[in-house]
């Protein structure tokens, strides 16, 4: 049969979901089709977005704990003047590990993990667009994280800050392999983030449930789309920057070497062209969490949905126009100062609009003060303070005074912990029943919320004062008698409170896994599709693909849920819909589990780690990668089927 004839064939007579195949019989067949192969190899081969998302989140939380432990060590060192708990060199390593881990191994991956887990459920599809790419993304992220932390254990951790400015990180001053390990860790995590972003973008644009036009997408999915596009446009910048740094260090190029007419500031431009959008890559998913939680716990639709969506898009675009505000102290033309000050201040407008929309939703609704909403209120309070200090330091004269002081440390912890971690903890509490089938303890949740919220203010508010009093960042000690003792002691006490509170949060997660109350399918009375399936969701997510005719499908569904039918049940098949209006368009097969993404990661890891030592490793190491990728894509079944499959 020619391909042209094959393309015109009517659908094969194979089992499909529908009125004749529904209920337990259908669920049994679908469970078999969408399950992982048995054993450890099967576990490594999983391409289920829920497995990948869960692994992402748990791994990121482990990195949070590790980087948090380092923060405690730093706070112990700084709890009194002239302390000698740790020396200057070790302190350099520790703040580098803390910042690098928090930004590259915790904040971005945890958000992507949540997006990978939730997006297909929220848009009503069985899997994501490129399941094997997704699995590859997770393994590559894990390999990058292991590279950094194994180096730390072996006492060759980077000591150049999370931003790795040359010349400190260049061949002249960054002796040994510490800077190379940092740069290559960046390569791993960027590949992971980019792979996940491409998969999420295609999933959102092509796999939404019929009827879920762009204007009906949950706001969290909008936030995911915007951040995925931001990842796609910004991460190549840091990947390029770190590749040029590696080549300066390994093969003697001069990109950042002023002696040969390179420029160290080139690094800062490339790094911050990524680094500033990265802040919003972390923050925008958090605003997505907030929008979902606010709507559910206010028991009404979000006020001015179009404004919230446009704010997300506007923030995503503006985020690419402010990177130079990280470089005010390097000296700029006057017009540069004015432009980037104005741009930095302008980004507060869409964010401010979102905050007003949330407050209006709470005002108009009937709020239930349960733990997820408490975190949202804590977020609004803390983030507004961080946003205001951001507006302060957008002004060049103030920035030049406060640059590299603890005022900046206070500002970005208010923005990142207040703006991203608080909503994340709320989101974990909110979607915990979805992932586990159990509720987290409300009492323990409230205790840990208040401890985290108050402990955070105690830990970070005094840093503003320490910064104004002139305490520089990244210095391992400070002398007595400069008014720095009290703010530092308070910060150290506050950080211990936060640590205990986070521990309580984790204990709550672990204990609730077995002991929590059993969750109903929609325990919070939420409006979005992820709650239309059981808790935890089955491997195939939905027995039938739901049809959506509003922004709040579950609130409007009534007794029955409209669905489409006719997808195959003995092979993995997805329904693709049109980009704008989500009209049913195609049935495409979805990839079966495969060990090859894992093997491809192993091959990539060997190539990247060896290339720290020799440029030839790139050429030789590419061969196993090519073999693994070819095996990944090559069809495994002996002959093509009449209805296509990806085996």
């Amino acid at each position: 049969m020619t391909p042209a004839e094959r393309a015109k064939q009517p659908p094969a007579k194979v089992p499909r979901d529908g009125p004749k195949l529904t209920g337990p019989k259908l669920e049994e067949k679908l469970a078999e089709t969408w399950s992982n192969p048995p054993g450890f190899i099967g576990w490594l081969s999983s391409v289920d977005h829920k497995d990948i998302g869960r692994r992402y989140v748990i791994t990121a939380l482990i990195f949070l704990a590790l980087a948090g432990a380092l923060a405690i060590v730093m706070r112990l060192q700084l709890s009194k003047p002239d302390n000698d708990l740790i020396g200057a060199a070790r302190y350099n390593e520790i703040f580098t590990m803390h910042g690098t881990t928090m930004m590259f191994l915790f904040a971005v991956p945890v958000m992507q993990g949540m997006q990978i887990y939730l997006t297909p459920l929220m848009i009503g599809t069985r899997s994501n667009a490129f399941p094997r790419l997704n699995a590859f993304s997770y393994w590559t992220y894990l390999a990058g994280g292991c590279l950094l932390w194994v180096a730390f254990v072996l006492n060759i951790a980077p000591d150049i800050g999370w931003f790795a400015y040359p010349p400190l990180s260049g061949p002249q001053f960054g002796v040994g392999k510490r800077a190379d390990i940092w740069a290559q860790m960046v390569t791993f995590t960027e590949i992971a983030a980019l792979a996940a972003a491409v998969s999420l973008t295609a999933t959102i644009l092509k796999q939404r449930a019929p009827g879920m036009s762009l204007a009906r997408m949950p706001i969290f999915v909008w936030a995911t789309l915007v951040t995925s596009l931001m990842v796609i446009f910004s991460m190549p910048s840091v990947a390029l920057a770190s590749s040029l740094l590696l080549s300066d260090r390994l093969v003697g190029t001069h990109f950042y070497n002023p002696a040969e007419n390179g420029d160290a500031l080139l690094w800062q431009h490339l790094f911050w062209f990524f680094g500033h959008p990265e802040v919003y890559i972390i923050f925008l998913p958090a605003t997505g969490f907030v929008s979902e939680i606010v709507a559910t716990f206010s028991r009404r639709t979000i006020v001015m949905y179009p404004i919230v969506v446009m704010s997300l898009v506007a923030t995503g675009i503006l985020a690419f126009g402010l990177w130079v505000h990280h470089m005010f102290a390097t000296g700029l033309p006057r017009i540069g100062y004015s432009f980037y000050t104005a741009a930095s201040m302008s980004v507060s407008i869409p964010t401010g609009l979102q905050i007003f929309c949330w407050i209006a939703t709470l005002w108009e609704g009937r709020p239930r003060l349960q733990v997820p909403l408490l975190y949202v209120i804590g977020f609004i309070f803390t983030f507004v303070i961080g946003g205001l200090t951001g507006v302060i330091i957008a002004a060049v004269p103030l920035d030049l005074q406060l640059h590299d002081t603890y005022f900046i440390v206070a500002h970005f912890h208010y923005v990142l912990i207040g703006g991203a971690v608080f909503p994340l903890l709320g989101a974990i509490t909110y979607w915990y029943p979805k992932a586990t089938g159990r509720m987290m303890s409300e009492t323990l949740g409230k205790v840990s919320f208040w401890m985290i919220f108050l402990g955070f203010q105690l830990a970070f508010f005094p840093m503003h004062i320490a910064g104004i009093n002139g305490m520089p960042r990244r210095v391992y000690s400070y002398p007595a008698g400069m008014g720095l003792e009290l703010p530092n002691l308070l910060s150290s006490i506050g950080s211990m409170v936060v640590a205990v509170a986070v521990l309580l949060f984790v204990i709550n997660m672990v204990v609730s896994l077995r002991g929590g109350l059993k969750a109903a399918p929609n325990p919070w009375g939420a409006p979005s599709l992820e709650w239309a399936t059981s808790c935890p969701p089955p491997k195939y997510n939905f027995p039938h693909i739901p049809v959506v005719d509003s922004r709040t499908p579950l609130w409007d569904a009534g007794e029955k849920m409209s669905v489409v039918h006719g997808l195959r049940v003995e092979e993995r098949e997805l329904l693709l819909t049109t980009v704008m209006h989500a009209k049913p368009d195609l049935r495409e097969p979805s990839a079966e589990p495969s060990i090859w993404p894992f093997i491809a990661t192993l091959a990539t890891t060997v190539m990247f780690v060896s290339s720290i030592f020799s440029p030839w490793a790139v050429v030789i190491g590419a061969m196993p990668v090519i073999i693994a990728l070819t095996a990944w894509f090559w069809p495994k079944s002996p002959a093509p089927e009449r209805e296509p499959v990806i085996s």
């Binding site: 446009f233 007419n261 399936t533 039938h544 669905v563 489409v564 195609l586 296509p644």
Partner: protein, 205 residues
């Protein structure tokens, strides 16, 4: 599902493949094209940033790169679009015979391009460790070489795959179509890089 289903539409008649923006593969390819395009754009920005550090470009005493190999490479790339378009059209009209016939040509053109690229590296008149100018010229050419190599590897695998019975699966023709699209991107991306490597150092010396 917690709610009872109400069946409103049968989707079993929908096709199982489509070309261009209707397919997932297209969106994946576009995603990676944007990533690589962004990397090229930033490398070009770095080029101009480093250029602003010099009084002349190429800086004395280095001569600008020799034109012959680079121009020949550009011509072959532009001409390669003829078989590339033929493959793309053949794939879209399910012409498996034509696809099978033409794919080895693209593999051969790729090999020819690698040979010319070798001469290009040899005619840059500067080494990557001479100065920042040399570094960025080499970086652009190296980046583009990895680009050509990626698509060439992809084309080789596709060529072998299309010779098997799997080639008769219409979805493999969608893959062929997208591979041809990617090749367009590879040569389009080359054009500004060609100007930056070979002509800008002539114009600003």
């Amino acid at each position: 599902m917690s709610l009872q289903p109400s069946f409103i539409e049968d989707v079993s008649e929908l096709p199982t493949h489509a070309f261009s923006y209707r397919s997932l593969t297209w969106w994946g390819i576009i995603g990676f094209m944007v990533i690589e395009g962004a990397a090229f754009a930033l490398a070009i920005a770095a080029y101009f940033f480093l250029m602003s550090q010099e009084q002349e470009w190429a800086p004395r005493p280095w001569a600008p790169p020799g034109l012959l190999a680079g121009t020949l490479f550009t011509l072959v790339m532009l001409l390669s679009e003829i078989p590339n378009t033929m493959i793309k059209k053949a794939a879209e009209s399910y012409g498996i015979g034509m696809v099978r016939k033409l794919l080895p040509w693209m593999v051969g053109i790729g090999l020819l391009l690698f040979v010319i690229r070798g001469f290009e590296f040899n005619s840059l008149n500067v080494l990557w460790y001479d100065n920042a100018y040399g570094s960025i010229i080499w970086a652009l050419l190296f980046l583009h070489t990895t680009h050509v190599a990626t698509d060439w590897g992809d084309t080789v695998v596709l060529w072998r795959l299309m010779r098997t019975p799997h080639g008769e699966d219409p979805r493999r023709l969608v893959d062929t179509d997208e591979n041809a699209l990617y090749w367009r991107f590879v040569w389009l991306a080359w054009l500004p890089i060609y100007v930056l490597i070979y002509w800008v150092p002539r114009l600003f010396q």
